[in-house]
Symmetry: D3
Subunit: 340 residues, 6 copies
Amino acid sequence: MAKVVTFGEIMLRLQTYDHQRIIQATGFDATFGGGEANVAVSLAIYGHEAHFITKLPDNLVGDLCVSELRKYGLNTKYIARGGERLGVYYVEKGAAQRASTVTYDRKHSSIATAEAKDFDWETIFDGAEWFHFTGITPALSEEAAARCEEALKAAKKLGITVSCDLNFRKKLWTSEQANKVMSGLMQYVDVCIANEEDAEKVFGIKASATDITSGELSDAGYRDVAKQLADKFGFSHVAITLRESISASVNNWSALLYDGKDYYKSKKYHINIIDRVGGGDSFGGGLIYAMLEKYSMQDTIDYAVAASCLKHSIQGDFNVVSVSEVLNLMKGDGSGRVQR
Amino acid sequence: MAKVVTFGEIMLRLQTYDHQRIIQATGFDATFGGGEANVAVSLAIYGHEAHFITKLPDNLVGDLCVSELRKYGLNTKYIARGGERLGVYYVEKGAAQRASTVTYDRKHSSIATAEAKDFDWETIFDGAEWFHFTGITPALSEEAAARCEEALKAAKKLGITVSCDLNFRKKLWTSEQANKVMSGLMQYVDVCIANEEDAEKVFGIKASATDITSGELSDAGYRDVAKQLADKFGFSHVAITLRESISASVNNWSALLYDGKDYYKSKKYHINIIDRVGGGDSFGGGLIYAMLEKYSMQDTIDYAVAASCLKHSIQGDFNVVSVSEVLNLMKGDGSGRVQR
Amino acid sequence: MAKVVTFGEIMLRLQTYDHQRIIQATGFDATFGGGEANVAVSLAIYGHEAHFITKLPDNLVGDLCVSELRKYGLNTKYIARGGERLGVYYVEKGAAQRASTVTYDRKHSSIATAEAKDFDWETIFDGAEWFHFTGITPALSEEAAARCEEALKAAKKLGITVSCDLNFRKKLWTSEQANKVMSGLMQYVDVCIANEEDAEKVFGIKASATDITSGELSDAGYRDVAKQLADKFGFSHVAITLRESISASVNNWSALLYDGKDYYKSKKYHINIIDRVGGGDSFGGGLIYAMLEKYSMQDTIDYAVAASCLKHSIQGDFNVVSVSEVLNLMKGDGSGRVQR
Amino acid sequence: MAKVVTFGEIMLRLQTYDHQRIIQATGFDATFGGGEANVAVSLAIYGHEAHFITKLPDNLVGDLCVSELRKYGLNTKYIARGGERLGVYYVEKGAAQRASTVTYDRKHSSIATAEAKDFDWETIFDGAEWFHFTGITPALSEEAAARCEEALKAAKKLGITVSCDLNFRKKLWTSEQANKVMSGLMQYVDVCIANEEDAEKVFGIKASATDITSGELSDAGYRDVAKQLADKFGFSHVAITLRESISASVNNWSALLYDGKDYYKSKKYHINIIDRVGGGDSFGGGLIYAMLEKYSMQDTIDYAVAASCLKHSIQGDFNVVSVSEVLNLMKGDGSGRVQR
Amino acid sequence: MAKVVTFGEIMLRLQTYDHQRIIQATGFDATFGGGEANVAVSLAIYGHEAHFITKLPDNLVGDLCVSELRKYGLNTKYIARGGERLGVYYVEKGAAQRASTVTYDRKHSSIATAEAKDFDWETIFDGAEWFHFTGITPALSEEAAARCEEALKAAKKLGITVSCDLNFRKKLWTSEQANKVMSGLMQYVDVCIANEEDAEKVFGIKASATDITSGELSDAGYRDVAKQLADKFGFSHVAITLRESISASVNNWSALLYDGKDYYKSKKYHINIIDRVGGGDSFGGGLIYAMLEKYSMQDTIDYAVAASCLKHSIQGDFNVVSVSEVLNLMKGDGSGRVQR
Amino acid sequence: MAKVVTFGEIMLRLQTYDHQRIIQATGFDATFGGGEANVAVSLAIYGHEAHFITKLPDNLVGDLCVSELRKYGLNTKYIARGGERLGVYYVEKGAAQRASTVTYDRKHSSIATAEAKDFDWETIFDGAEWFHFTGITPALSEEAAARCEEALKAAKKLGITVSCDLNFRKKLWTSEQANKVMSGLMQYVDVCIANEEDAEKVFGIKASATDITSGELSDAGYRDVAKQLADKFGFSHVAITLRESISASVNNWSALLYDGKDYYKSKKYHINIIDRVGGGDSFGGGLIYAMLEKYSMQDTIDYAVAASCLKHSIQGDFNVVSVSEVLNLMKGDGSGRVQR
């Protein structure tokens, strides 16, 4: 059981019932989600001591958020309280040719305005083996980017493995801003997770002609992107997820792992989607778990992809599946036969 | 922003929860729907001044109906109030090989017994550019057929473009009755919307051997039907929708447009269905919008089919999608990627 | 209208909402289900006088169970009341590659501890034409197995046709136990229903190499299993269901019937699944109905498979479909077109 | 266990969720209710063989209605099927000073247009001890009034005790119409149930100055009304319910019984209301039960009032309480202590 | 039908289901509310041409808000779109001794940052008879206070009657700030609405010793407050609402009106509460309606109090009651008898 | 922050929606509850390190239970896993004169069959200040009684304060059995919590003539009971709760504390009930909190009663109220005014 720390924003996720559009809404299912929290939940469920670091307002909604994290076994003791608000995102679940939509209301959140004194990184990282963040955290605000850098420095000093999911969000910053900030942070990162779009939008690293909306993806192109990323920033590992969106209801899903030497390709899953928001984060959670468990490279990418394949069948951002369920799928049983 | 008028019946739609059968029901989701109301809602959402003309009982349920129409931006000021009742239809959503069922309880409705004095067509049509009705309205009752003819005469006199969706309903009248009444009304119609079944059931116009339950449809046959319709009644345009029902869960959907000279075929969409009731009406709404916007013939049929493709992903009769969403799909992005 | 009797356990089925996992549950949809009750409900809905025999606790939850059975037209007058409890099973509905799970809490139930005096088989079987049970009943407990044998002896004495669905449940007993008990009961059985797994697990009867999780099934193998079963126990008919699990969302479904002379193969259905728990029981209900109606062998297997195909589109264990709906599908209309 | 028959209309009851007004509705809880059906359900739950006679449309909603009645143990075999429709009533539950509203959509129902051949009264009444109807049935239509008279004549011929709840409904007929029709039917009635308003509105029988909206009711006045009713029509018993509406949330509830000689006054209950629709019918059900059980006059009125007191705590029209619960309250325990 | 304009903030109201606390929430009922919007909805429902002026973000949640306002007949054409966000407030409904809680997340809203050019007051006020705002609007931000003053000046110039509900919110500003800003705005106000707390907190105007948490209120004290307010600012009318909080479930509710000469006291209602948020606003809506209709002073206060009494029985901020329902209560029928 | 340990059974609480009776149920709200768990949750929410000790089955429902406890901040690390099942109780919420009902299905639970080796009391109690159990735990089974005694001996040895709520459950054991077992355990108890019924049913200790169903309770009688209990078993403190059940909707609630010398009487609260199951446990939680905080005797009983008064307004067994909310009520504000 390793201590793992993730840092970032968590928001209240308000999703319309069934497949309603927001204009039809008379209520919302309320859960919570955020890139780094989602990864931490995966690791807590897999049995590790997972800490999620953020700042939440000191009100009833902040309390609800903490209690939901606690429910899934997360350690919440280093969460700072205070600031103005908890971010909210409204989700419409798409279907067929209609895309899911995510409407953010996240500005001025407590985490985006957190101060250095909110987090005592030495205490937080004491005994930790892994630190994970995503490109969303530094994109939130200058303060958040500064907090991120403080965390990374502390982690590096303590020899903690660091992973980063690039996770470019065009509503938070431009490619120029992302490039500048993220380039400065990559020196602390060991394991990089991305999709082709991220690599291009953040670092201008581009694979050979591939149209991501066409649903056809080129393996060679992705290998190229992985290698360029590793070469440029010295990552020990680069993982790239490959999503083929056939429609909002059906996707293909696979991934690629590069360890600086070889490329490992996962199986490709054909998925009837229940909820795909959080799919990428569940991949990160699976990848970190497999690496902490010292799986072989092939098993690592297979575990990460199987874990995230299952996420697409789960409501909400959190990937509530067990290690044995992931292993079962990874070993080949995707038949969905009833487990009695 | 054009003024568009539609005229017909709207009913309370009582649908069982999830995929329950009616015998399992302990409650119903309540929305409203009706061919002409559905078209009007589409046009209101696309930004036009859409008026829906009907008669509703002067009670709390009639008030609810008006308020739901208002919600989507419809102009409801010419809706007559009075009469006995609002029609109801009970919907079971099918899945897999089990068909959706619609159980009507629409007799004796206020609109079916409306009188000439309920509608002042000159005022209603003042400044209008388009009038739309479907074959359901004259099928409701002799009174409704008479009201329909009054409206058509007034519209024609004012030079308003008239569209009609043939929409044959075997529970409302026989082919013989339909043929007689509809033949008399077609002289006022410019744009005709139909599917193969309608043309045959209403006017005996039949394409070469095609089994509509087999899921295979012949292009040539449909072109033939379109031409026969246009030739017989002098329509400026005939649009024919082509549905291939693979199951209650999966359909293919496309359409054909004939402008008296050329045939324009849309793309064919493979759809995982959320709710297909109202699919044909959303096609009509899209077609009228595109023609009001003076789209090219190809763009017109593409817009109408893309709009109605999206409808299949939406709960309820009303096609709550924006122009930009339709254009996005029409231009080729049916990938359903999350819109953040 | 024939009198049909089935005997076994019925449990409260607690299913999470939508596709939630149990750990996400804040409530459960409550229905009831059990192999023999499910068959009886099918027969009641098809119009026969169906009696379900069990023992239920004498409390409010037992009352709810009786009332739910009555709702679907079952005759509940021979249900014994008393004992400790009603069994419960918790259901998570799977999707995509995530399997549905069933968590049983059925030990110590009233039926598992029922005494001989709870059932007066002579009265119960008076005028009956058919008796059905499954391999679950004798697996519940020694008492239940004894009750089962008492029922079978009484049925045989009265010349009632007996059917048995082998239904092996590994959580209730081992193959050794099953083999021993079931071998003793098969002498009373005329019609045997099984799937390949059952035949192997209960009687060690095995078809040639087929991997049931691979989704590919061999016809020849199943014919072989059917023949071996009939030869060994003297069954007049053996029916074998063939499920190909592509995923938890999509299955293929067909079946085979052997009448001691010829093999009859049904059509294979490709199914988008709403709820597959109870699928096998709906096959049994369809088979018994078709045999009571003296359908031809081919029509019998076609009816049974069409009935159970439709079950996969229905929420809950009970197959609430009408004879005309089954016939319609059996005759070829699986298009799912809206029935207005 | 006596055979009891009731005859009248049952409707689909569509109630908004919680305390929503209809204009806020996005769905409805669906139950069924009707004066005579409600009485029959009470008697079925109390353990008698209760038959409810009506006519229902031969569609899925009619099937749902039958299955709901069966659920509560009613015998539905003499229900005629056919005709146009099932009536619907929309219910808004009031609270505080806001009254509950009931919006009827019941015209043209199957029962209102039932024909003489729909009911074979000799068979229906075979072995019956009691027949109950209310003033609603003859008010539905001339046909329904004729059916009612046919039933009454058959009942009288067979010596069956007849009870009638006057139940004046001003939306169905005028006082003049009611007086004329009801006066003709009273000759067949033994037991009359009324409230002061009914007696006045139907027969012009009026107690001394009492303002029913003031919440203060005069005992003497009610005794007078009961006596006038009995004297005029020769009823063996007259029961009068006394409701003091403090608000839509709080009522006082009591009743008076006159057996032609003495007056029996019940306890008065102070009630926090959950659902008061069906309150009067539950009184009728309790009264008939107590008389069938040959309770003393005092116990009879006490049972009827306790039964209907409990109804006010129950959702829906049907009074799902057991005999022992009624007896417990009638004997004085209204403390509402948790029953473990 | 008069044109009435109100101006202020509207927020998404997220309320836990039933009486859940926020920490128990897994979803929220979603409605909208805000002091001035609530008043405008009342007036629209009463039949006036009501305009609500605000600024909403140009996203799907802003669209939902507009559509909900439209549903109740509000005119939304002058609503500005843009800015960062829509405010949110989380509501826990209290019961018994547990108070309801409201958790605001309203900072940085579009309306709080609206600019002068967002509103063309001359056009907005064209033909208007009445303008209403509350003390919440200027409390939102300096910008909002400036917008408020611009509106007031424009209204005054056009001779429009102006009403203001003082509505002190301690989380938005201090008494000092309120005093300063509000004192500057009162010169434009004709009709002032307040409760004792408001008068004291905003202007330091205090009645003789009354403990508002004790539930006992002194008439003389309130008359004194009303007179002081009118004398100080020259209001033509001052209305003061008097709430006695017995518990979160039960309140007494009445009010006082002062027209500069005489005092008019309303009846006092004893209320079992469904939802009391928005109670004060419904009083304002009733008061303005009654004054527009030129009711007598006594009828005016009676109408306003009856209207707001009914609001306490209604879910959500909006007082969806009709004029006839208010008149019925105002005339004395608070019995809550079922309206059939 | 003190370490507090409680030990006992927790069950899945299945409650019908709204005020439905079980026979009307189509689903259940699912929460968890149990005397000792409820107390522990109170203490965790008040900020103490609360450990709940039990045994849960090692399945998905056991996992759900653990996660729900964790959500409220309980420390679950000493919960044993294994055994057959988790107990279930079905709850119907009463109203007016209809009592709530609780139907238990708790036999054969994991905790009732727990073995000595499941709990390492020395480790569990390490650093603990308080141990709490109720009379339910030893009543479950002989094994549970033995576990209880083991815990008590360990606690006593370590000088931990022990409290016991007598909590007599007539469905679990007889008075004779209770007397025998509980008498043996009382030697370890310091603080005893009871109601009059408990004292009489468990120890035959009876106050002077008081009819608990009459709603009138005698102070003197209760003082007498408290003194008898303290004298007999040497308790340092005895607290007695006093419930006056006016109806299932309205109760009065107060309590008495005896410290061996003086009697302290709390205020009496008049409560409109939302959910009273768990009311007694919330009193225990409040009492322990106040004693841990070293409140004066009067403040202790006031805090405990205010805490449990608030519980009656909360859905579910757990008393999710904060210390400040309890203090606020205890200090006199029961007005339920909205907290903004």
